[in-house]
Symmetry: none
Subunit: 228 residues, 4 copies
Amino acid sequence: MVSTRQVVTRNDVSFLIVPTAELTTRRRDEIARAASSEFAEHGYHATGIADIALRLGIGHGTFYRYFQNKRDILEHVLEGVVERIGAALSSEDPESASTLTEYRAQSERIGRALCDVFIDDSELAQLFFVEGMGADQQLAERLLAAQDLFAEVGERYLRNGVERGFLRADLDIATSARAINGMIFAGALAAARMPDAAAARERWVASLTSLMFEGVSRRRPPTMGESR
Amino acid sequence: MVSTRQVVTRNDVSFLIVPTAELTTRRRDEIARAASSEFAEHGYHATGIADIALRLGIGHGTFYRYFQNKRDILEHVLEGVVERIGAALSSEDPESASTLTEYRAQSERIGRALCDVFIDDSELAQLFFVEGMGADQQLAERLLAAQDLFAEVGERYLRNGVERGFLRADLDIATSARAINGMIFAGALAAARMPDAAAARERWVASLTSLMFEGVSRRRPPTMGESR
Amino acid sequence: MVSTRQVVTRNDVSFLIVPTAELTTRRRDEIARAASSEFAEHGYHATGIADIALRLGIGHGTFYRYFQNKRDILEHVLEGVVERIGAALSSEDPESASTLTEYRAQSERIGRALCDVFIDDSELAQLFFVEGMGADQQLAERLLAAQDLFAEVGERYLRNGVERGFLRADLDIATSARAINGMIFAGALAAARMPDAAAARERWVASLTSLMFEGVSRRRPPTMGESR
Amino acid sequence: MVSTRQVVTRNDVSFLIVPTAELTTRRRDEIARAASSEFAEHGYHATGIADIALRLGIGHGTFYRYFQNKRDILEHVLEGVVERIGAALSSEDPESASTLTEYRAQSERIGRALCDVFIDDSELAQLFFVEGMGADQQLAERLLAAQDLFAEVGERYLRNGVERGFLRADLDIATSARAINGMIFAGALAAARMPDAAAARERWVASLTSLMFEGVSRRRPPTMGESR
DNA sequence: TATGAATGAGATTTCATTCAT
DNA sequence: GATGAATGAAATCTCATTCAT
């Protein structure tokens, strides 16, 4: 992703300016990616440092120049995962929508973004929901905290909708936010697992927004005439 | 915890004590319970056979008289978990409801039952969603299959509702079933984690049914005057 | 050293009373002895757990059933060493001698006892002076503390002699005790290294007592007519 | 073993660069000093090549331009240690003293010199008695050989005294030389460890000479009236 | 049948040494 | 000459599993 710039220079004339920091970062990324894949494919515990190194064609001792130990890289990997999920959730301003139509469009965008995160990197879900939760108690706590954070973001959306009057006033915001997140994650996860991910995504987004806004019951069109 | 020597000698007369098969089953159950707890508390990998044995006050060699190996018991434990979840989902007949009101009540009962499963045994969620998924690829497949099965049950409910006419005709049944399951599981999980589980359960059941049937939007009451 | 008493008994009749504690102690001793030898012969760092196990013909995993880790056994071994040296030094009562003749005889006995400790187990010196000092800072501290303790014992002897009047009143007790210990240890060490250890011992004991009491100078016989 | 590419070619002309030898020697000394300190402070095995390099602010690869390997530098360091101790012992002519007074003064000078060697460089003792003895069998042999050499020097002193008639004729020269060395080393070591090293030195020198010449017994002044 | 001592495969981690730049 | 990234041998330690008692 970054050019190598191995500006090599000789003895007395000039210097070899080693972009160590950059090189290091790149290597760390490479290793982290390899580790992600191994963890997701075979599980954290079934993955040996040697497997990660083998996948990269490096010596396994090299691993330890870039990460303290095995747990360290899991932590690093999960940080990235949480960050990416968080970024998708934060791509919109929870307080910006002022009509139900806008609000709904926004929801669809978020759903789509989240699906994309999981579709782009099909390992994310496995890492976030399974490996991270099962490998280490402390990391599990952190992931639960992240889920709480995600729920809070959801709450802000819902609260805005209630305050602006286009969501039900009696909505149990905290619970609903978590429930909706549950749906969304289930959907993103399922979509990522499907062979035709793009199509699955649209189907999920449509179903979810419909479920979220109107529920499953047959009924008359809602108050202000917003179309489904 | 249970007796050891089936053959007991008293006054030079030997007695064969019990129907061994039953005793064996009981022992297996004890061990499985102990294993469940250890797995849920400390994780599958962090749990040693010795830990399970210690919890029961038996020798760890004894474990192998009842289970082939460590994986074997995880399998056994997960089977029980899946069974219990399945039982809760199957406590109602998916085709029995003939009005939306009935249908809704049925949904609430199922939700409540499911919550109870997870609340009664707070280890279930951890085992089903985390330990089982992370410990072994093959078992993970089985759990995913179980989730598919659960989704199919959900589909039958929804299909019935659509066919009877009190659910939206345009409902994407397959997707919605999975989405709703996602919500339900998220709820059951969250409720199980709460300190006041019973109260949390009611809140969740209310929120979920409301969400599921009417969604979040503010609107006129639905066609046939169902409450709330 | 201890009989095995594997009082084995069968199924329904009687029990196998496993003298676990004793067996464990014996095994620990065996391992400790093997470790001592390996450490003394090849050095602490050059010795692998596998070497110790190999010497005993046991699996190297077995080692860890008896000792926490490699450092643990070094500690254990050194404790024994210190104890044995201490026992030799404590074999006499530092305050008991009331004449120079007695005193001198006592000194010879102690010197002889100490020599014997090192001659009996020629590894002791290596362990006490070298391996223990070089392997681990913390253990080195403990050994230095032990040396201080030994010096204190020496001081008590000297103080008694001064107080009773058969040692020079101007003796620098603290320093002399340490110097004499230095001589003694050097002697015991050298004697242990000699091929004909017993003869070497006598030569050393004679030279040391002579040096200690009269020094090297030629002179008239001391005050009260003690021989030599 | 020393420099690598002495010959540099610029524009097809070859240059032999520097008094490389001297620079190399200086560098070697620097590295040796750093290594000494690290070895003495943390132990040979606990010291990594990288630690030595870090202490000097050089790259650890550079180390290998000056020393073959880790053992090589320990050897080098120990050579220096032995040399310095030997120099102190050889600062006097073992056959020069012709009276007890002279002899005694000489002994004190040697004791003082030896103390100074150890006090000046408090690492010496640790290196000589511990690290060197524990790190490598072969080096240990060499150090023992050095101790034998030191003992021989001592023997020459004693033999001279006996021959000149101011030491006891019945002195076991070989044994006494080693015993006295033991005292001296114990003293030098203790003095080096003390906070107020200079004072400790004088105390030790006084105690040792007194012990060595007159022993601990109370007695009449020696034959020829030499003062204490 | 129950037990726990013994085992060794296998995993993690360190660090002396090499060598391209 | 200097450097430090890369390497892999080797060491420690764990724990599922076996099996004699």
